[in-house]
Symmetry: C2
Subunit: 336 residues, 2 copies
DNA sequence: CCTGCGTGTGTTAACGTTAACATAGCACAG
DNA sequence: CTGTGCTATGTTAACGTTAACACACGCAGG
């Protein structure tokens, strides 16, 4: 017919079919005002008949923007990243943006560099990078000036704005809560040394104790898993002075609770336990875990607006505070 | 300098700076072979200096493809969807594709229609739709001929290929396992009636029992939650004939296990319990749940290749079989 | 009757890239 | 010395859209 066979219909094809100029088709496609009802109807009919799909490429080329934000992620499957993704998607939808993702096959700096280079060739107006990449990768990362880039990390980067949940401040919340309940002799169960989040939680804990004039004992070290929490809990059970435990995540906190109970101690009557993350395990039956909840969706939304809003230049560093969720593993301190 | 101020550098700017033609810049950018080392170096230097970023829009316009696949999702956060997303990301990365997501604000058909219309204007070569959308929405869905569309659902659609884990066949696996252990008197705990997955699991179970000459008793109905599983389990505990329970998901299966134990029965010695999904709860401490695992990443990969591979026309319907994971909640049948 | 204005439409020129073709230089077989 | 083929480079013409401008028309006020 009127269309060149094989190709998908363009505005020119629609214009020919509807007997109008190509510009009028463009006006209809964009919902512009100055089109008479009769013409609009004819054009819409022609579009439908020809299965017209506007070329996003041509539009973006002309317009100079893509209305899409890039996301370079290592492991979206992980709890925190997922909730952040959800926040990014929310913010994107409200702004009429899409989210374009590429996965990084591993956590190395090479992988990040490659993902970022690939992003430069993708139709995105800004880039959000992060999701479980270890800190050392970011330190060598150089963003392209042609693509506004936001990093999801606690470590401040000289060239990019960063966003993260306040992994330092959360420990202050826990310290407030536990000292408020009268606890003085407390233990911290840290995550793996390589983890930036764990390091900040530990630092925040140390500083919070010092600020309250309490001694900070050496942390026990776990690996984020419930089993490592169990081991730490077993060790703590033998120390009769301890009345409260703060574990750097919920999984380990759960392990601590199990170990304490297996050792014949009651939680929270004998020992209080607090976790961080408010992950699924924190709400399990058998009494929820007292923990710190982060607004991860806000983390995502913030990253989005920094990446595409572009307003405030100069590397800003946003830290989103958590809130303490009191469930049934903390109570007033009593000697064991 | 050589570049028009305000704009980001184009190939023409780079060409001017390097003293070559624009086409040569294009060749370098694409990594084409026929460029001398000296020229290549000069061009790369100019690119670096000008902060050149190739225009994805112009490329796609010229090339006619985007190297990106669209994903219209309702709730990515949910367990199954997430793993599927991961599979899509994997396949996309291997094919050098990006994944462009838009979120649907709710599950209504309007929302789906709107998301699909938005996708038509996005830079994608194919579209994957699904992720927790209820079946009725798909039935009224009409794909655009200009955008190859794949549906993630068990219900076959006349116009689109569909992909899903085999929600029917999984019940056959469970029936094989349990009858193999000598169980005859079994109960099925279904999910909510609105759920397509639950309906197919139930149908598969009925058919599997019939094929084995066993009577299929009326299913108990839950709502996917552990509490509803607990109720069902409590009812089953009172029926001394029953030696095995098949719950339509792991959460409910977990509830059943708890109820049976609270009623003084041993699992698996007195009653065997099987779930479906191999979700996190299935691997909890205290003895893992026997369950059916689906290869959800394969679901995602399959959807990807159907969406962009485009090879086989005509609506194909792919069902990916699960595998039974035997853990510690099933054992040989013994009278209670 | 002219001027001015608003409304619907058409015309033209980019946007930045790549494919196809053209050309210049050089090596080498005949 | 001519012709053939290869390599490195340049030239031209799209790809499909939108912004800017131009035009034709009807209608108001002078």
């Amino acid at each position: 017919m009127g269309t060149r066979s094989g190709r998908t219909a363009s505005m020119a094809d629609v214009a020919r079919a509807a007997g109008v100029s190509q510009q009028t088709v463009s006006r209809v496609a964009r919902g512009a005002a100055n089109v008479s009802d009769a013409t609009r109807r004819r054009v819409l009919d022609a579009m439908r008949e020809l299965g017209f799909r506007p070329s996003s490429a041509a539009r973006s080329l002309r317009r100079g923007s893509y209305r899409s934000v890039g996301l370079a992620a290592y492991d979206v499957t992980e709890f925190g990243n997922l909730a952040t993704l959800d926040g990014i998607l929310q913010a994107a939808r409200e702004a009429g943006f899409a989210v374009t993702m590429v996965e990084m096959p591993d956590e190395g700096p090479m992988s990040l560099a490659r993902a970022s280079r690939r992003m430069l060739e993708l139709p995105v107006d800004g880039l959000i990078v992060g999701m479980s990449v270890e800190a050392r990768d970011f330190s060598t990362f150089v963003p392209s000036p042609a693509l506004p880039t936001v990093l999801l990390t606690m470590l401040e980067h000289p060239l990019c704005p960063t966003v993260d949940s306040d992994q330092y401040g959360c420990s202050g919340l826990v310290a407030d809560h536990l000292t408020g309940l009268g606890h003085r002799e407390m233990r911290f169960v840290a995550g793996p040394e390589a983890s930036v989040d764990s390091r900040f939680r530990e630092l925040g804990w140390r500083d919070a104790l010092r600020a309250r004039g309490l001694p900070a004992s050496e942390p026990l070290r776990g690996d984020w898993g419930a089993d490592s929490g169990y081991e730490a809990g077993a060790a703590i059970a033998r120390d009769r002075a301890v009345t409260a435990v703060y574990a750097a995540n919920d999984q380990m906190a759960l392990g601590v609770v199990c170990a304490l109970r297996d050792a014949g101690l009651r939680v929270p009557e004998d020992v209080s336990v607090v976790g961080v993350d408010d992950s699924l395990v924190a709400t399990l039956p058998g009494g929820g875990l007292t923990t710190v909840r982060f607004d991860l969706a806000a983390r995502g939304r913030e990253a989005f607006s920094l990446a595409v809003g572009g307003a405030g230049e100069g590397a800003r560093h946003v830290r989103i505070p958590g809130t303490l969720v009191e469930r049934s593993t903390t109570a007033a301190a009593r000697p064991r």
